[in-house]
């Protein structure tokens, strides 16, 4: 028998999930369930949308109103859901490739519009499902099956990208710091407007193996020993921040929310003005 949390918020018949041994996605998915439980939101009022990739399987496992959509387009579908039903709590779970490569344009424009959805990125720095190709968040010099001599790209910082594009709540979590990450997800869901929580994942099967980072335990240990807070990061130089993970809130602003603005136009036109 699984725990009460799992029984309530997951589809037990689909568990255990197919993620690899030690995959951080299971921990992050539990964080999402815990955050929703802590907020006491009605399960029927949550719409979870995902695209394609390892992370996107979460929509199959979690017991809410769920949509498993096309690659990179989860945010586009979520935008549609939110516009049709602004009363719903719309949450997107996306991997780093789904969110920042294939769905990169949807991400920046949803952030710019500040539509009231919450995007939770399970960011493991690699394409796991398709076999370990490097992704837009793979650090410079690291290895993937498509970067056998080291990645010469520079990585995206998804959180900073979203904040720059106009997202009104942005935070960074990690797999190791589960309690803090749950809190950040809660704050993101509570926030009115576009929220994004970029969670550093662990992929022992591809990222760990390709880059000799060890197994799940070693990768978790690395996160424990190399995570700094936003406040600490603010005082450090770029060289000092090399290889460090950041934990905490990156941005919070009170921008007008898109579906609200749309409703205002409807109301105005109804009054004939």
């Amino acid at each position: 028998m699984p725990s009460e949390l799992i029984l309530k918020y997951m589809r037990e018949e689909h568990l255990p999930h197919i993620w690899c041994p030690g995959c951080g996605h299971g921990i992050l998915m539990r964080n999402v369930a815990q955050a929703i439980k802590n907020l006491g939101i009605d399960q029927e009022k949550v719409c979870l949308v995902s695209g394609i990739g390892c992370a996107s399987r979460a929509a199959g496992y979690m017991d809410f109103q769920t949509m498993h959509t096309t690659h990179g387009r989860a945010i586009a579908y979520a935008t549609g859901v939110k516009m049709a039903r602004p009363d719903l709590e719309v949450i997107v779970i996306a991997g780093d490739g789904d969110c920042a490569a294939i769905g990169g344009n949807h991400l920046i424009h949803a952030a710019r519009r500040n539509i009231g959805i919450t995007v939770i990125v399970f960011n493991n720095d690699i394409y796991g499902m398709t076999g370990g190709q490097y992704s837009p968040t793979t650090p410079h010099g690291e290895f993937g099956t498509t970067a056998p001599y080291g990645n010469i790209d520079r990585p995206f910082d998804i959180a900073v990208l979203a904040a720059g594009a106009g997202a009104s709540y942005v935070a960074k979590g990690t797999t190791y710091h589960a309690q803090q990450t749950i809190k950040l997800i809660e704050n993101g869901i509570k926030h009115k407007g576009f929220s994004l929580i970029d969670c550093a994942g662990i992929c022992p099967t591809y990222y760990g193996r390709k880059n000799k980072k060890g197994g799940a335990v070693e990768m978790m240990r690395y996160q424990r020993d190399n995570t700094i807070t936003v406040e600490q990061a603010a005082k450090m130089t770029r060289e000092e921040k090399e290889g460090k993970l950041i934990l905490g809130k990156i941005a919070e602003n009170d921008f007008p929310e898109f579906s609200d603005e749309y409703q205002k136009i409807i109301d105005r036109l109804k009054e004939g003005k």
């Binding site: 997951m10 255990p16 999930h17 030690g22 921990i27 309690q179 799940a216």
Partner: protein, 66 residues
């Protein structure tokens, strides 16, 4: 309320995360499955539950019989 440590070996994939981060060294992976080797030392902190990717270990709160 009494807290109980519960394991579900059929869901365990033997990654060893819970074993590593248990502050009291209560757990061990035996034949790729989670095993409680030192139940009496468990302080029911729940760190294993928080970091188990497969939901194979958790703390259950049981109401005391009156």
């Amino acid at each position: 309320m009494t807290k109980k440590l519960i394991v579900n070996p059929s869901w365990c994939k033997g990654c060893g995360i819970c074993v590593e981060f248990c502050p009291k060294k209560v757990l061990k992976v035996v034949k790729e499955k989670i095993t409680v080797v030192n139940y009496d030392d468990c302080i029911k902190c729940g760190l294993c539950e928080l970091r188990c990717p497969d939901y194979a270990i958790y703390i259950e709160e049981v109401r005391d019989e009156e």
